[in-house]
Each structure stands twice: as C-alpha cells, then as structure tokens.
Amino acid sequence: MRWVFLTVLIISCANIQRRFYKPSKPELEILNKTTIKVHMKSGEVYVLKSWNVSDNKTLEGYGKFYSVDRKNSSEGNFSIPIDSIAIIEANFVPSPSINPLSMLLIPLAVEIAIGTYCLSNPKACFGSCPTFYVQDGDSMKLKAEGFSSSIAPALEADDIDALVGLKSMNGEIEIEMRNEAWETHVVRYVDLLIVPRNGKSVFFSEDGKFYRVNNHILPKRVECPQEKDKCDLILNMDGKEWFSLADDKDLGSREEIELEFDIEGGKNYALVVGRRQTLLPTFLFYQTLAYMGDNVGELISKLGRSEEAQSKLKNLVDKITSIEIFVRDGKGWKRVGVIHGEGPLAIDYTLLPIGEIKENNLRVKLVMTKGAVRIDYISLVELGEEVEPIRIKPYAVIYQGKESDSALSLLLSENDYLVTLPGDVYKIKYRVPEGDYEFFLKARGYYLEWMRKEWMKEKNMAMFWEIILRPEIALRKLAPVYKRMEGQMEDLFWRSKYAKP
C-alpha cells in the first residue's frame, strides 16, 4: 500500500509550481538559494541566481536584467531597491522527494536483513553434503545429494539416488557436483548407474536392489495428521510436498499417515515414497556440533572409534529421519520395513517391497517423527523383476572451465579422494550407450562440517552427552529452541547457499 501511495505521490507531483512572493525580507528568506525573477513595477525583470537581502531596503544579487520589452539585457551584480519591486516569482520544477536510485536500497536492505538473520542463526544456513545438478530445460536442477549421513571419515558410505527424468544428450550425461556449504567434501567416487527401462519404471529399493515396477496405484484415501487439506500433494511426482510442523514440546513426537489402496489380490507389491527431510534433522546435527564447541575434533574422532557411540547416534538419526511402514492384515498393523532419511536437499524416490497381498484392498501406515519429513509422492506398484544396473565411470571432469585430469584420476581411483571446498563446482561427464534408461547416481565419501564462530559460544558438554545418551530428554529440551526458528528455516537455508565470489 505504501508503494502505491509513493507512486501516486511521485506522479501527482510532476507539475511545475509558479509561486509569487511579496518583496520583503521575511518572504525572501524562505526562498534562500532559489533562482528568482524580480518583477519591477516598471515592467523590467531581473533573473537572480544568487542574492541576499542586506537590509529591508535593498536586494543585492547576481544575474541578468531584462528591459520592459525584453529586447535588452545585461548580466552582472545588481543592487535593487525593494520598494521598486512589484512582485517576486519563483518556479519550482519537481524532482523526486527521494533519490530514485536510493530506492534500490530497500530491496538491498531486505537482502542484507535476510543474510544477517542467517548469520545470527547459523543453524538455519545451507549445509549437508555435495549437491548434484543436471540440466533440466534452460536451468540446472538439483537432483541428488550425496552421502548426507556421512559426517565423519568413520561414517564414509555409499549413497544411491534416483535421477528422475534424466535423459542423455548425444550419448552423454553431464552432472554438476557442487560444494555449496561451509563444508569440506571428501569424495571417493561419483558413478552413474543405468538400468534399461524396457517400458517400465525402475526404482532402487531399501534392500539395496533395483527393481522394475508396473502400474503406479494411487491411494483412494489419504489421512494426514496435520495440513489435511494438502494431503493430495502426495499424489503427484511434482516436487510439491506435504509436510507437518514439529511438536512444540518434544521433537521426537511421532505422527502417522494412513493410506488405502484398491489393488488386485495375489500379486507382489511395493511402496514408492518420494521424500526429503525437513530441516529438523539438520538443526539437531548443527546443534550437536555447537554443543561440542572446541572439542568437536576430539569428539568426532572418538565417535569414529566407538561402535557403541556410533550405534547410539545412528539410532537417534534413524528415529528422527526414517519412515516406518506398516500394512494392515487380519491381525492388525504389521511392520514391513523402514525407509531411511536422505538429507534435506533433493527429493529421493525409494522403493520398499511389501510382499504378496492376497486381498483386493490394502491399508498402509507411515509412521515418522512429527515435522521431520517432507513427502512428495506415495504410490503402490506391482513389483517386477530384480535388475542389475550397469555402472559407468566418468570420462572427463571440468573444473574452473578446464578439463582436469587430476580430478578425473582421483574419482577413478578407488583409493584416493577428490577433496572439494566451499564454492567448488565440478562438471562430471559420462558416456552412456544408446537406449532408454533409468539413471541413478552412486557416490561415496564423507564430509566435514566447518565449525561456525557463533556455534562455539554454545559449547555445552552436558547437553551434548544428553543428546547422545538420553536423546528423548534432549529432544524435549530442544523443542522450544527449534520452534522459534522453524517457520523461517527452509527459506533461510536455501538462500544461504555458498556461492564462490
């Protein structure tokens, strides 16, 4: 509304104002430094660019004199008796009440405000492992994130992500691997897995296998615990996600989504779930690092050596990020498996085999931590045959506009690592045979989160050990802290990506 008012003000002020004043000292003082036309009783006129009233009797100034008929003129300093002046005229040409260029300071200030908020709330800032982009139309689109759970050398792991919708161009695929966070990424390899489609979809399953699938069956009924009017968002593989908010008393609180499918009995079925994490797990991770303070190096190292600590941490991470899947049979709800979390950046589509269903109706329940998961898509599929993917190594790597043989050889070697720093971008190229394929990315490595200065101030070993040893209590204590920033976190997180200057 303020903008509309300002616009009207600017437009309406665009008239030239002609104003007239009596020839007296108080009136003239208002016009300080304005060019004036001094109309004499005789009809002559002086145009004065600079002037002053020395006393109440004389106007002195520099400018031009014009005769009555304006045919004669002269320039110089003049001393004009005030009592011979008839009237004084001043013309005011409009100018913007504020410098229009300075108006750009408004959006700039908004940018800075967002940045400042991000700095003061570093746990809302972008992080979590290498990001992988592919060409999608005119722009690069984020399709996968690599080994997001591998936060220490001891946790180095493989990660497989579906590259949904990817097509090869002239037998070639180019993937951009970026380090967009304050992290060091240690990458052992980034390979492409391809599976011929044979007219069907192919998904990577939680049991580590690839399956062809038939017939995506959408649920005939969906019951969401929150945001019920947005439940339908899970019916399309379009990046529009359903999600709920975390509990304000306990970040470990659970919630359920229930679905009902009409199916043909007697076939093997599997559930396809497209999801990513909310920023709740990221917050917990960063908060844990903050509690470690300057002991972070020592503690991460201890974590790497202690299987017990790793197991406790894994349980906590699984509890927060995973989705438990249940199906209803004659005896009640039966747990059929777990879909693990894959980071907050890219939507990952995973298959969970359920087994043979004899009935023509299936009820499925997803149980997860409240406010921890964003769901893009859920469908039931007929499970087809297991397939073996073809693994393709990169043939070229482009770094800073040039082909980098050293980066390529590091990615090809099973024993060495390619280490990337914030702002690094590597274009990795693959040759793929002719055909119609489903593409997956297989990456291995780990990453080291950089400690932020602001985090050091929050060092609290008691809270750190509470998170590791008594997470149920820690999650209750942290609930109000997270809820204060939950609303803005997603937006702030994405705007705080590190881009090399």
């Binding site: 030239i16 750009l104 990506k497």
Partner: protein, 178 residues
Amino acid sequence: MLSRKFVFLNLFLLLSCASVSIPESEKLPTPTELPGYPYGAFIAVRVKDRFINGEILGVEGNTLYVLTTDDKILSIPKDKVRYYNVIECRHEGYKGTAQAIVMLGLSVLGAVSSIPLNGLLALISGSLWLFTGTIGGLSIVLSSNPDCYPEVEWDKLIRYSRYPQGIPQEIKEKAVNY
C-alpha cells in the same frame, strides 16, 4: 525581443488542433531553464474563426494580452475566447531515460542474483527488486519530464504571463483589439 517565436511540441497538436501553425525559430524553455526564463508562457487561443498563438503578456480583468508569433500585441476579450491551451515548457527529449534504464538494469540484476542467493525467498526479494526498479525508473522519467501543458483557469492565467505584476502602460498602448 517582441518578435520571439516558439516551437510547438507534437503533443500540443494533439492537445489543441492541427490548424495551429508551427513556428521554427526559438524554443520554449526546458523545465530546467524555466526558473530563469524572463518571458511568459505560450498560449494558443481559439477565437471564433481562428487560432491566435503567442506569448502571454498579461491579463487584466476580462482581457488577455498576447504577443503573437507575427509580432503583434493583441488584446482579446474573454467573451471572444472559445478555449485555449497553455504550454509553459518543452520536454527535454529522453532526459532521465538513461538513468531509468540503469535503475531498471540494476533491479533486474538484483532480481536475477537473488534467485541463486535466496532460493524460495527470491520470489519475494526478486519481486521487490523489480517493483522498486520499475517505480524508481518511472519516477525518474516522470520527474525529469514534468507536465508542460497545464490546464489553467482564466483567473490564473496571469501567473503564466510575462508581466504578473500588471502590464506596463507602454506595452498596453501598443495593443490592438481583437
């Protein structure tokens, strides 16, 4: 210089009538020059059978004094005037356009750069950049090119005249009645 002539702006033709003649010599002041301009504004007066074009010298009661483009001083009674148009300045071409383009360019740059920086917030910050740039550019152009064609009531015409203090007797004596 009583024989001064004026150049009309094309817009004036639209505002008044195509039958107004277009003198070619001297120009009206630009808005910037106006505060130092010692003459009256230009007027095109529609009387019964023609237009009288020239500089407003003054108004006394129901009589308008005009220095015509062919160097005559005419006194025109109000009841003979069907309508008139006043032009007090000429626009300065594309003044402000370059600044406006720079401003728009900066705002587009801001909007585009906010996409990778702000993620989803770019919807807000990008729109703000573009909106501010458009409004700012518009305000530069508008303020650099103020309205030179004021609509002036009869009793305010004197403010646009050469002699707002009243017409000197020697000028008045030269006037020919229309």
